[in-house]
Assembly symmetry: C2
């Protein structure tokens, strides 16, 4: 059992992201089946197109971003719910003037991330 | 793949709760491993002490409540993260003047709820 405030959870840079950090709110060690993480993307930040070997269930807490999923682009903001199945290419771009913050839940399975767009 | 706003998701009463509703944001049919739900407890509402056969990973979005977990009582508000292992008795009481709203993620396993405090 645990109760903690998200602000007190360690923040780590996401190497595959731009101006992007992650906080593991409930880890795969604590939770027997899935992990609850919070991502923060500063204005102008995001992540290039990539795939994961696990699905994402997400809830937007703050800010405004474009999320590309497959061929589609969705503008999202607080209260939006996103489901990205495993293996589907996706990307994020903060298009607002404040941090884009969202929860992302993943199962306790090995996740391999593959960046599809290497930039130039 | 899906993107939707939480406000557009059907709201259902929680029979075991008082002034409590649930929205299934990502269902156990859509998500292969876990379901993402949003609970809203109106001022004065909550749930009596009970157990579940699945764990809960929770994130408080709005409002203020007491959550009893085992022998402890925690006052929680927006940004608080709660992990309740399977089988641990717990209860909720909205102690604020606005709705108490939180996300609750559960694995895709059978959940049996047992109410421990039947009231009088």
């Amino acid at each position: 059992m645990s109760v903690r405030h998200a602000r007190d959870v360690e923040t780590q840079a996401v190497k595959a992201g731009d101006r992007t950090t992650i906080q593991v709110l409930v880890s795969s060690e604590e939770g027997p089946n899935f992990a609850l993480r919070r991502f923060t993307m500063a204005p102008g930040g995001g992540m290039l197109e990539h795939t994961n070997t696990v699905e994402h269930e997400q809830y937007v807490l703050q800010g405004r971003a474009n999320i590309g999923i497959g061929e589609d682009v969705h503008e999202v903001r607080a209260g939006d719910v996103v489901f990205i199945p495993e293996g589907v290419p996706h990307w994020y771009q903060n298009i607002g003037e404040e941090d884009f913050v969202f929860l992302c839940i993943v199962p306790n399975k090995e996740d391999v991330i593959e960046i599809l767009d290497k930039g130039c």
